[in-house]
């Protein structure tokens, strides 16, 4: 099923939910409005057989494509778009918002897996509804993304840190999280 067919089918069932679609390198991708996410997820699971949630991947696009780090060794990386730079000029499509949360879905049972990706775009601090009610396996997936990326999943029954210590400050996978030079944690534990 192409992304256009998929988008049409989802739009028909949940009006006003899909804002964009893309065929993608690996699987069709639908962009969904956050407030319609649970409805779309339920429809995909019940009517379109996407009963298996493979992964929830949140991506931080802070500074995405601004300063493509191709050169290893300088502080800011090498600007690939500058004149005389190594390689061809490159313009990267700018993301609409800072965070993308991407849900990788598949069909498990009889027949092909027919993977599909749905994504929502979020600003910093914006909430996205939890899909634990649709796919119970989302429990730890969402907790992990909350912990490491700081995405708030509204309605999650147990949204606590999972990987990092409970008193950890910050979300390490964010692009503005300091790499090196951060305060040493646990120093007061001795």
């Amino acid at each position: 099923m192409t992304s256009a067919q998929l988008a049409a089918a989802v739009k028909k069932a949940v009006p006003g939910s899909v804002t964009a679609h893309e065929q993608g390198l690996d699987m069709p991708t639908l962009t969904v409005k956050p407030e319609k996410l649970v409805e779309v997820a339920t429809h995909l699971r019940d009517a379109m057989g996407k009963n298996f949630l493979s992964a929830v991947s949140a991506v931080d696009h802070l500074g995405y494509g601004e300063d493509v780090a191709g050169y290893f060794g300088t502080e800011r990386g090498r600007d690939m778009n500058a004149t005389g730079s190594w390689g061809t000029p490159l313009t990267v499509a700018q993301p609409p918002k800072r965070f993308a949360v991407r849900y990788h879905l598949a069909h498990v049972g009889d027949g092909p897996t027919e993977r599909v990706r749905i994504q929502v775009w979020l600003d910093d601090g914006q909430e996205v509804p939890s899909v634990v009610g649709v796919w119970p396996t989302a429990d730890w997936h969402e907790r992990e993304q909350y912990d490491l990326m700081g995405i708030h999943f509204a309605g999650h029954p147990n949204l606590r840190r999972l990987i990092m210590p409970t008193d950890w400050a910050g979300h390490p996978l964010r692009k503005d999280y300091p790499i090196g030079g951060e305060p040493v944690q646990f120093t007061d534990a001795v």
């Binding site: 991947s57 991407r102 147990n158």
Partner: protein, 421 residues
């Protein structure tokens, strides 16, 4: 203080009752209120928890009534580190996640990058990768078998399994130079062709291995002690298992024939014959049988690899991404510069995203990469099957004895390095 006589009799546990998804958070079972309960901390350092899994267990006598699993004790920031490394430097880093099925991680990462840069891998390299992927499966299932047996007190199985594991690692050492974490698959192929004498050594192992698997089954499958500990423990139906995201042998033991090798053939899995092992029961015993029988299938695939592996190059001829051959470095300055540039600066990858899955011994191992056009991944995310399967520990363990909880954790075959990443 009540005396022993006044205590209520030990509860009669319901047998063969499949696990249900608990209300509230699916990965946690809240203990009932008001009862005379005790909360015990199993782990993170406990010999029975397969690494550093922490189980916060609420007990009613010896029966588990509440459980909350906690992970993250070996979190080392793999995903963050991948963002700081050029694509090349991710290859030796990836096998360190699931250190028991190291080759499967490399395959997922390398496969994802290869899809992003759209490079054609020569057939011989595909077959060599498949050979080692199946050897890794044997290796991982042997580790599962020996550690879960040792948790049940079956010490001898441990030594038998490690003996065969050593043979697998010898084969790895022969071809890749190291026993684990080999950096053998590279973008566009594998590092070098198989060495002289590898075929003979591998065939010797393959002739031996089925007899060894027979031995494990003789030792365990019909063993009444093993059966009483394993049968009916941690039962999960196929439907619940899919909802909880189980994959690999954990899901196939519940009767769902989900195998990425068969459904989305990568490498050359569409050109070899093998059976997807499924079992109907969904309990710990079936998961054990599923893994053990899968070793026979892996032996079959490796045999077919040796028989029908095509000849030809093992590395793609695309110098934009592939290191120049070693011998050129001594004679060609351009090759030397090229080699240096590839290793230090890396290569640029067109902006895009890809989610690439492989069938790791533990299930669906996925690598999600986002590129912004630079030489380092913008975001790397790994779908670790252990991370997902350990969520089911709570629902599978409640209303059983503590000893059964150990069986459940063992039978899910989690590797904490992969779960925590």
């Amino acid at each position: 203080m009540s005396t022993i006589d006044e205590r209520p009799p030990a509860p009669v546990l319901p047998l063969y009752e499949p696990a249900k998804i608990p209300p509230g958070a699916p990965s946690k079972v809240d203990p009932p209120a008001g009862a005379d309960l005790i909360t015990v901390n199993f782990g993170p350092n406990h010999p029975s928890t397969h690494g550093v899994l922490r189980l916060i267990v609420t007990l009613d006598g010896e029966v588990v009534v509440g459980l909350d699993a906690d992970i993250g004790y070996v979190h080392t920031g793999f995903e963050k580190n991948f963002e700081q490394k050029t694509y090349w430097k991710g290859i030796p880093y990836s096998p360190r996640m699931d250190y028991v099925a190291f080759f499967a991680n490399e395959l997922a990462y390398v496969g994802a990058v290869e899809r992003l840069i759209d490079i054609e891998v020569p057939p011989r390299a595909q077959w060599i990768r498949m050979l080692f992927a199946e050897l890794t499966r044997i290796h991982s299932h042997l580790i599962y078998l020996c550690t879960s047996a040792v948790e049940m007190g079956a010490l001898s199985v441990f030594f038998y399994c490690l003996r065969e594991r050593d043979s697998v690692l010898d084969l790895f050492e022969m071809a890749t130079g190291v026993r684990m974490h080999d950096r053998y698959p590279q973008f566009g192929g594998v590092a070098e062709d198989l060495p002289k004498g590898f075929y003979a050594e591998c065939r010797r192992f393959l002739a031996d291995m089925p007899k060894r698997i027979d031995e494990y089954l003789d030792l365990l499958a019909g063993n009444p002690v093993w059966k009483s500990r394993y049968q009916g423990i941690g039962t999960i139906t196929g439907e619940t298992a899919i909802a909880m995201g189980l994959s690999g042998p954990n899901l196939r033991a519940s009767g769902v024939p989900y195998d990425i090798r068969r459904l989305e053939p990568y490498l050359a899995y569409d050109q070899v014959e093998f059976d997807v092992i499924t079992r109907p029961g969904g309990d710990a015993y079936d998961r054990f049988m599923c893994r053990t029988l899968e070793m026979y299938e892996s032996v079959k695939i490796v045999e077919q690899c040796l028989d029908s592996m095509p000849s030809g190059p093992v590395m793609a001829n695309d110098r934009k991404y592939v290191l120049p051959p070693r011998h050129e470095l001594h004679t060609s300055m351009e090759s030397l510069i090229h080699h240096f540039k590839l290793v230090t600066e890396g290569f640029r990858v067109a902006p895009g995203q890809v989610y690439h899955t492989v069938e790791s011994p533990r299930g669906e191992f996925g690598c999600y990469l986002v590129s912004d056009g630079g030489a380092k991944p913008w975001r790397a995310h790994f779908r670790a099957p252990s991370f997902v399967s350990l969520q089911s520990t709570a629902m599978m363990s409640v209303n059983r004895y503590v000893g059964d909880m150990i069986v459940v954790v063992g039978s899910l075959d989690g590797v904490m390095g992969e779960a925590d990443r």
